[in-house]
Structures are given as structure tokens and as C-alpha cells.
């Protein structure tokens, strides 16, 4: 049952990642692209967690943690560049 649920969840999260790629390609503003990159990172974390449950290992949580921290830092750096014209002043 868990394998079936993981299969459905991988399909649904992949469709939502494709939606994020659509918004990343056709976003009218640069902030839409930043927001879609952030959402894409969150979807990648979800995919890693679901595959970790599917394969029955606890090995993938470090990868998910790295995705979370790098995604947050990149979003804040992009927004800081737009706000101040500089990343580190």
C-alpha cells in the first residue's frame, strides 16, 4: 500500500514540478521566476522524502536538508539583490 501511495505521490509531485517549470519559463516578472524556483526547491524536497520512504532508507534526509538550506539562501540572495542592488554590502 505504501509503495502505491509513493508511486501516486511521485507522479503528482512531478506534475507540480512541471507546473513550476511552466511558470519559470513564462513568468511575466522576475519575482515570479524567483517564486517558482523556491517552489521547485520545495517540490524537490518532497520528492526526495517520498523516494526515501519508498526505498525504506533514512539516508536521504541530509539531501533534503541541503536542498532546503540552499533554496532558502538562493531566494533570499535574489531578493536582496533586487531590494538593495547588492547581495553583501
Amino acid at each position: 500500500m505504501i509503495a502505491t501511495a509513493c508511486l501516486i505521490a511521485v507522479g503528482v509531485i512531478s506534475v507540480s514540478a512541471l507546473m513550476n517549470l511552466f511558470r519559470l519559463a513564462t513568468g511575466p516578472d522576475v519575482l515570479d521566476r524567483i517564486l517558482s524556483l523556491d517552489t521547485l526547491t520545495i517540490n524537490a524536497i518532497g520528492l526526495v522524502v517520498v523516494i526515501g520512504i519508498w526505498f525504506g532508507t533514512s539516508l536521504y534526509f541530509e539531501i533534503a536538508l541541503l536542498f532546503a538550506s540552499v533554496g532558502f539562501l538562493s531566494t533570499v540572495a535574489f531578493c536582496k539583490y533586487l531590494l538593495r542592488g547588492n547581495v553583501i554590502e
Binding site: M1, I2, T4, A5, C6, I8, A9, V12, I13, V15, S16, A17, M19, N20, F22, R23, D29, L31, D32, I34, L35, S36, D38, T39, I42, N43, I45, G46, V49, V50, G52, I53, G56, S58, F61, A64, L65, A68, S69, F72, T75, V76, C79, K80, L82, L83, R84, G85, N86, E89
Partner: protein, 137 residues
């Protein structure tokens, strides 16, 4: 007992995937930046929380290997999602002059989002109609 645990973990996985899908669908569907900001920052956080609870329950109930690693990820995401939304909305206010005209003047001498490097308002980089004078006067 094992069947009940499997049912619980499967339901949590499906709920998490559904909320991630709702967030991404709102990102595509909604018409404005400020409205698009609502969908991912709230519902994807909920979906990730549900997936991480499912992972913790799976490792604790079905594999007898309880761990608290997932709490680190969920706490980190719950802390950083509002900061991301705040930064994106501030950048949107800064880049949108019409929205700056509509908003009320914030208290003090500072604007809603400024470009000046020292936090002082008199050294604005680009000349524009000052927002401190009310347009209705």
C-alpha cells in the same frame, strides 16, 4: 496494527502530495504576483509537513528505527517560508511604483522598501514624486 500504520502513512503521503500540487497549481493559475505569493508559501509548507510526518511515522512504526531528523527540515521550512514571502513582497513593492502610490505612508521617515544603501531616505538613487506629500492635497 501494521495495516493501520500502513494506512496512516499512505494517507499522509497522499495528503502531502495533494497540498504540494495545490501550491503549484495556484502558482500557475492566479493572476497577480501578490496573489501568486499566497499559494506556494502556505500550502507547500503544509504539504512538506505532512510528508515529513509520514516519514517519521514510517520509520518509527514500521521499521522500528525512530529518528528526529525530519523535525530539523520541517522546523527549518516553517521558519524560512514566511521570510521568503516577506522578501519577495518587499521586492515587489519596490519595483512597482503604482502600488507604492496606493499604499498608506508607513510611520517614521522610511518607505515600504528602499534602495538606498544606508537606510536614510534622502539619498534615493532615482528621482520620483515623493510619497510623503499626499496626492489628495
Amino acid at each position: 496494527m501494521a495495516g493501520l500504520s500502513e494506512l496512516l502513512v499512505s494517507a499522509l503521503i497522499l495528503i502531502g502530495a495533494f497540498f504540494l500540487f495545490v501550491g503549484s497549481f495556484g502558482l500557475v493559475k492566479l493572476p497577480d504576483v501578490m496573489r501568486r505569493l499566497h499559494a506556494p508559501t502556505k500550502s507547500t509548507t503544509l504539504g512538506i509537513g505532512s510528508l515529513l510526518i509520514a516519514s517519521m511515522l514510517y520509520l518509527a512504526l514500521l521499521r522500528d528505527d525512530p529518528s528526529l531528523h525530519e523535525l530539523i527540515i520541517s522546523v527549518f521550512l516553517f521558519l524560512t517560508a514566511p521570510i521568503t514571502a516577506h522578501m519577495i513582497s518587499k521586492a515587489h513593492i519596490l519595483r512597482n511604483r503604482a502600488l507604492q502610490q496606493e499604499l498608506p505612508q508607513p510611520p517614521g521617515d522610511e518607505g515600504w522598501a528602499t534602495l538606498d544603501p544606508h537606510g536614510a531616505n534622502e539619498t534615493r538613487l532615482d528621482p520620483e514624486p515623493t510619497r510623503s506629500t499626499n496626492a489628495k492635497d
